[in-house]
């Protein structure tokens, strides 16, 4: 049952931060529903996510299994190795979804990523996956051809 729940949560979830947030929101919401506790204050984005889930999904939870299910989900999340994506700009949800869909389409499997903002890259991106870092940024290209660029600039100064 947990596999099915996890699969539903992962639908349209692309980043590790997004996954953690969604699980936390869902947990808070279910606690408030099942134990008549005060309802957590949720923003529009969170409410939209909760509304997107089918009623049959919520019916799988009860007072007895709620905590064990979420303990299992949290354990699964902690074992996820994300793909770190360094970008020179801050992304919005739309860009995140586009990147996520591209990654899933390219690799054909579920890979969660984490976006890290690094303006020093100038343009392009760099990625890190399972401890290996690859740089495809403009900064790297400039560094590789630093001497060449400097000599051209010196030519202009003359």
């Amino acid at each position: 049952m947990n596999d099915q729940i996890f699969k539903i949560i992962l639908t349209n979830t692309y980043t590790l931060a997004q996954l953690k947030k969604r699980v936390r929101v869902l947990k808070d919401y279910l606690i408030s529903q099942l134990f008549n506790e005060s309802r957590p204050s949720l923003n529009e984005k969170d409410l939209a996510y909760l509304r997107s889930l089918e009623p049959s999904f919520y019916q799988q939870f009860n007072k007895d299994n709620l905590y064990p299910i979420f303990a299992d989900l949290e354990k699964r999340i902690s074992q996820f190795i994300p793909l770190y994506l360094y970008l020179p700009f801050e992304t919005d949800d739309q860009v995140t979804s586009q990147i996520g869909l591209f990654i899933q389409k390219t690799y054909g499997k579920l890979i969660l990523f984490d976006v890290k903002y690094d303006p020093a890259l100038i343009a392009g991106c760099s990625i890190s996956w399972q401890g290996i870092y690859r740089d495809y940024s403009l900064r790297k290209k400039i560094e590789d051809r630093k001497q060449e660029i400097l000599s051209i600039l010196k030519g202009f100064l003359k």
């Binding site: 890190s128 401890g131 690859r134 740089d135």
Partner: protein
């Protein structure tokens, strides 16, 4: 930090003081180095199934999620003759404010962590390590390649003895390496000044990590010292390595291990503390010509707590060295310099390197000292002592005076033998111990100037009796010199 096309990286997921744990770094090995973007250098110390334990070698803020890149080189230090006369930290960074170590880019880098050379590379210790200190060269001789522990109370003159060891190596083609492990920076500065004032810095390398440095850096100090010692030894130079002090080193290792969650053992030291020290000690020795042909003489130092040398670390160190010199503060306060307790000190290798006459004279001296020890107790109850007992007690007093030696003085080995030999001649009837107290330096000068005494030194003698006979005949040559008759 400069990341290349493809770099190996890890992210901090836990940090505690100087110890951090990283995710990632798939092919990292022990002793690799990692660096973060603010220049913080970490040393990979432990590999676990799902994380890597790193010890930070410099200060800096560590935050979870911070990126560390694996560096292309292992823990090492640049080695070369350019290090002579310089003070560096355990990573080879100069700390004496005299700028770059070398301008040449092509330098040898030696790895700090190296396995000690095996038995096939070693040879019997046959040459004496001359210190110019009578009590050592005559009664507790050291061999080139020996490991001799120096242990003693605080304020018992250990440091001045160590300085003497270095200063007296002048002109002997020996490289001295002094590793100051977790000592106050002021004491390191003082030591450098003393060495400089005595022209001893030109053949010495000082490696220091002061008490304010991060614990992992202090921990690496003796490793750097021995890595450099091995470098110079392979160049065919005899090396003297002083590790001051391994008690602090053990405490630092305990701190690192406890922080890393290792199980504490006796006195809370980790289980591998013996291994850590023994691994260092066995890097010293006398090596065959195919392996450089020179020697590494190691002098580890340990300060004792209330003269308790039966505790864990001192007994460990005694077990892994070829003897020990025990310094006592009460002897120091009585004016004995160096304040070595002869009866409790041991040398296991040095005697085989001594020449025959020195060895026989040393044996006689030790016999006299042990006899006098027994007779001294009896003499307290008797007003009139037999002449033989009186002679032994007088000889003991004279020996004590001969063995006293001021700091920063050098007495050549042949003069030491003659001085100690005089105790068994008629010289003792004419002079008393006060003569030695007041006139020792002029006596040494007279011996050096006497052609007859020089003849004794050059003559090939086979027994101590023959040596003493010749000495007896040469006494007038000293006494007849100006000032000789009238001390």
């Amino acid at each position: 930090m400069k990341l290349t096309d493809q770099s190996e990286i890890g992210y901090v997921y836990q940090s505690q003081d100087f110890l951090i744990r990283l995710n990632g770094l798939p092919t990292v090995q022990i002793n690799d180095l990692v660096e973060n973007e603010s220049g913080g250098i970490g040393w990979v110390n432990t590999l676990m199934e799902d994380y890597v334990e790193v010890l930070m070698l410099n200060e800096g803020q560590i935050i979870p999620g911070q990126l560390f890149k694996k560096l292309p080189y292992k823990l090492g230090v640049s080695a070369g003759k350019f290090l002579l006369g310089r003070a560096i930290n355990p990573l080879g960074v100069p700390i004496d404010g005299r700028g770059l170590l070398t301008k040449t880019k092509d330098v040898t880098v030696v790895n700090l962590e190296q396995t000690a050379p095996g038995i096939e590379s070693r040879q019997f210790i046959t040459k004496q390590f001359e210190t110019g200190i009578t009590i050592i060269d005559s009664l507790l001789p050291l061999g080139k390649g020996q490991r001799e522990l120096v242990l003693g109370d605080a304020h018992s003159g250990k440091t001045s003895f160590l300085v003497d060891l270095i200063v007296n190596q002048r002109g002997k083609n020996t490289v001295c390496i002094y590793a100051s492990i977790g000592k106050p920076i002021a004491s390191v500065r003082d030591l450098i000044d003393v060495l400089k004032a005595n022209q001893a810095l030109s053949y010495t390398v000082v490696i220091a990590a002061s008490s304010t440095e991060p614990a992992p850096l202090i921990f690496l100090t003796p490793k750097t010292a021995l890595a450099l010692a091995e470098y110079f030894q392979k160049q065919g130079l005899d090396v003297l390595v002083i590790l001051d002090d391994l008690g602090i080193h053990a405490k630092v290792h305990r701190e690192i291990s406890l922080l890393g969650g290792r199980a504490p053992g006796r006195e809370s030291y980790p289980g591998d503390i013996f291994y850590q020290h023994a691994r260092l000690m066995e890097r010293a020795g006398n090596f065959r010509s195919e392996f450089g042909g020179a020697s590494i003489t190691a002098i580890p130092v340990m300060e004792l707590n209330l003269t308790d040398f039966a505790s864990f670390i001192p007994t460990n160190l005694m077990a892994m060295t070829d003897g020990h010199l025990l310094f006592r503060s009460n002897l120091y306060n009585l004016g004995q310099r160096p304040a070595i307790d002869l009866s409790q000190s041991v040398t296991r290798v040095g005697r085989q390197t001594q020449d025959r006459i020195s060895n026989l004279i040393s044996l006689r001296i030790r016999q006299i000292l042990s006899q006098a020890e027994e007779l001294q107790t009896i003499s307290r109850f008797s007003a009139e002592l037999p002449p033989q007992t009186q002679l032994v007690l007088k000889q003991k007093k004279m020996i004590d005076e001969i063995l006293k030696q001021a700091s920063l003085t050098f007495i050549p080995k042949h003069i030491q033998s003659i001085l100690l030999g005089l105790v068994f001649t008629s010289f003792i009837k004419e002079k008393d111990e006060e003569y030695f107290t007041k006139e020792k330096s002029s006596l040494i000068k007279m011996i050096s100037n006497s052609p007859q005494m020089q003849g004794i030194v050059q003559a090939q003698m086979t027994s101590d009796n023959q040596f003493i006979q010749h000495l007896e005949q040469a006494i007038p040559s000293i006494i007849n010199q100006p000032g000789g008759n009238n001390p």
